[in-house]
């Protein structure tokens, strides 16, 4: 019964209990359109969480990705309007590349100067956001100006249904994009040399280096990849909400970090899985959305997210200590 002790199983169990609880308070929770909209809210946070997961497995932390996401999104949308380009693939590629370049800045400082990632990413995040708002502009690009291709792309649905009263609802295809990226990250972490290097780096940097992992390659890979995911998610977000707002995503890093920690990743590094993170993201989004359904005042949202971070990290710390006490038998 060793699998019962796996953190993913525990998280899934808590998640199920929470869902049953919320469903009892308000049965509307179980309606298909609510579940679909929950899944839809998972997409953006989830994609960003995949990047943060890799960084946290390596023992780092990133608070700059919301700035990267918003910069990549706004610049790309501006570029599309400027050139009148109406494709989908190229803009997403551009946004991801931009995010990756910003991420490289993080990697450069973290690797070259051996500086604490938190401080580096505080600096780069502030720089990128300041540059965007101070130099590029502060005006929103509203629906009447947003490129139609982006909106149409984000409107794609996998399942479309009609309610009794004639309104339609459905499950957005962006969920598939999210799942696809999640599988990709899972495969990278599990089956590639660089993925194993990320775990090794988080476990013990010196040991990883002596075992022959190229730390520079690993560090650049994770920060650039996380940046690329953020840039991609940023553009997707603007398509989904039909708006490109250069002030978007403020404070999002806390939600994402909370979700990743909730998913069982440890900031000491070396631990964390894609499945756990996805469950953590779902849990966080569900709790935040359900506060409304459960008729709790929305002003409590920040408190709830904070308490979630504290409890989740406390449990993770407790687990890590117990593991240490038991010896390294995992």
């Amino acid at each position: 019964m060793a699998w019962l002790r796996r953190s993913e199983v525990v998280i899934a169990g808590i998640l199920l209990l929470a869902m049953i609880g919320i469903g009892l308070v308000n049965p509307a929770f179980w309606q298909l359109d609510n579940l679909f909209s929950l899944l839809r809210s998972n997409v953006i946070i989830g994609i960003m969480a995949l990047g943060v997961l890799m960084i946290m497995i390596s023992g780092g932390i990133d608070v700059s990705f919301p700035a990267f996401a918003v910069a990549a999104m706004y610049l790309t949308v501006k570029g599309m309007l400027w050139t009148g380009y109406d494709g989908v693939a190229l803009p997403f590629l551009t946004a991801a590349t931009m995010g990756a370049l910003f991420g490289c800045l993080n990697a450069f400082f973290v690797y070259k100067f051996r500086m604490i990632p938190l401080i580096v990413t505080l600096g780069t995040g502030s720089m990128v956001r300041g540059f965007l708002l101070g130099v590029v502009g502060t005006s929103m690009i509203n629906i009447n100006k947003m490129p139609d291709v982006l909106i149409d792309f984000a409107k794609t649905e996998v399942i479309s249904m009609t309610k009794a009263d004639g309104t339609t609802y459905g499950l957005t295809a962006m969920v598939l994009v999210y799942f696809g990226l999640a599988i990709l990250v899972h495969l990278i972490l599990r089956y590639t040399m660089i993925g194993r290097g990320i775990y090794a780096l988080g476990g013990d940097q010196e040991a990883a280096s002596r075992a022959g992992f190229d730390l520079r390659k690993v560090i650049f890979f994770i920060y650039c990849f996380a940046g690329a995911l953020a840039g991609f998610a940023g553009l997707l977000h603007s398509g989904m909400i039909w708006l490109a707002n250069p002030r978007d995503f403020v404070g999002l890093e806390l939600d994402v970090i909370a979700a990743v920690v909730l998913g069982g990743a440890s900031i000491f590094g070396g631990r964390g899985t894609v499945l756990g993170t996805m469950l953590g993201v779902f849990m966080l989004v569900m709790v935040k959305n359900s506060l409304i359904i459960m008729k709790i005042d929305t002003t409590w949202q920040r408190v709830v997210v904070g308490v979630i971070i504290v409890i989740a990290t406390a449990v993770t710390a407790w687990r890590d200590q117990k593991r240490k006490a038991r010896g390294d038998r995992t």
Binding site: I61, F109, K112, F113, R114, M115, I116, L118, I119, V120, L122, G123, T124, G125, S126, M127, V128, R129, G130, F131, L132, L133, G134, V135, T138, L254, I257, A258, V261, I267, F268, D297, T299, W300, Q301, R302, V303, V304, V305, G306, V307, I308, I309, V310, T313, A314, A317, W318, Q321
Partner: protein, 330 residues
């Protein structure tokens, strides 16, 4: 041999202070050259002495947390919550006569409430970090959310406007012809400096930060010392909150959010090693003055606030690079 090493360490430290002073003078000269008539006015410097103490205290608080290799991301939350709790107390106790004329006794009670908030909040951080063993980054990230969240719940969003006159004096008034916050800052800085250099607590903190393992084997009470250091951080943050609410005559859940990055930057710029073991109040005090001159100069030159954010971020990265370069040479 040991004496020699000590001597070199002292020289190095003072070199750092000398460099900071040179940098401050340079900023002063450049800003004067760029706009002599506006920058050199007495009013400009007077307003700096009112504004910088709150940021200075937050930076000293950050430095104390960094001494043991930690960080405190909840300082701004603590500051705001302290101001708000005191503000609510004044509103509750002064219904008839109006808040402005509240008596000295009530104002002192408000001060106790504010400082108590800082103490309790700091103790909570200390408890989570030393007993529950959550990493400082995540613990304070979570509690920071909780404090800010509580501030939102208590106020419902908008600011609490209107504080007693005695309270405003702390942020606005004059003492011996100088700005009260400035005088308070100097006194507190001297006190903290004394604690760090001359008392067992301070010496222990330095030793723990320099080499946690050696400190453990030497029998230092690590947990208790770290716990005290976070309580100190919390109290300093709440004093900053008193100054902020006194100066602006208002308290709000999202005041001073940009102070977080600036406090980290100033602590690092002031020669604090974020990995622990090194930090001086004098260095932080000079750094905060240097950066206040810089930002007031930029404001006079009519740079947008966003661009100033960009410059803060870039400055932080630059300082990291320079520090890393200096350490390599040595």
């Amino acid at each position: 041999m040991i004496n020699k090493l000590d001597f070199r360490a002292i020289l190095n430290r003072d070199k750092n202070i000398v460099q900071l002073i040179v940098m401050t003078v340079l900023i002063f000269v450049i800003m004067t050259a760029l706009s002599p008539d506006k920058f050199l006015r007495y009013y400009n410097f007077e307003s700096i002495t009112y504004i910088f103490p709150e940021l200075g205290l937050l930076s000293i608080a950050m430095m104390i947390a960094m001494l043991t290799g930690g960080i405190d991301l909840s300082v701004v939350g603590i500051a705001n919550l302290s101001g708000i709790l005191a503000g609510i107390l004044f509103k509750k106790l002064a219904d008839e006569t109006g808040v402005a004329d509240t008596g000295l006794a009530v104002v002192l009670l408000g001060g106790v409430v504010a400082l108590g908030t800082g103490l309790v909040a700091g103790a909570l951080n200390g408890l989570l970090i030393t007993k529950v063993k959550i990493t400082p980054i995540l613990a304070t990230l979570g509690t920071g959310q909780v404090f800010t969240g509580l501030a939102i719940v208590l106020t419902g969003g908008p600011a609490i406007v209107g504080f007693p006159e005695h309270w405003s004096w702390v942020g606005n008034g004059k003492l011996l012809g100088l700005a009260t916050p400035f005088v308070l800052f100097v006194l507190i800085a001297i006190a903290v400096s004394f604690i760090l250099v001359r008392t067992p607590l301070g010496v222990n903190l330095m030793l723990i930060g320099t080499n946690p393992k050696a400190a453990l084997f030497a029998g230092l009470k690590r947990e208790r010392m770290v716990f005290y250091s976070y309580m100190m951080t919390g109290v300093l943050a709440s004093i900053a909150g008193i100054m902020l609410s006194g100066r602006t005559n208002a308290a709000k859940s999202d005041y001073g959010t940009s102070y977080l990055l600036q406090a980290v930057l100033i602590a690092v710029l002031g020669g604090t090693n974020p990995a622990g073991g090194k930090g001086r109040v004098l260095g932080v005090a000079i750094a905060v003055i240097a950066l206040m001159l810089l930002s007031s100069g930029f404001q006079i030159l009519r740079f947008s606030n966003h661009l100033i954010d960009f410059i803060w971020g870039a400055f932080l990265l630059l300082v990291i690079a320079i520090n890393a370069y200096k350490n390599r040479v040595r």
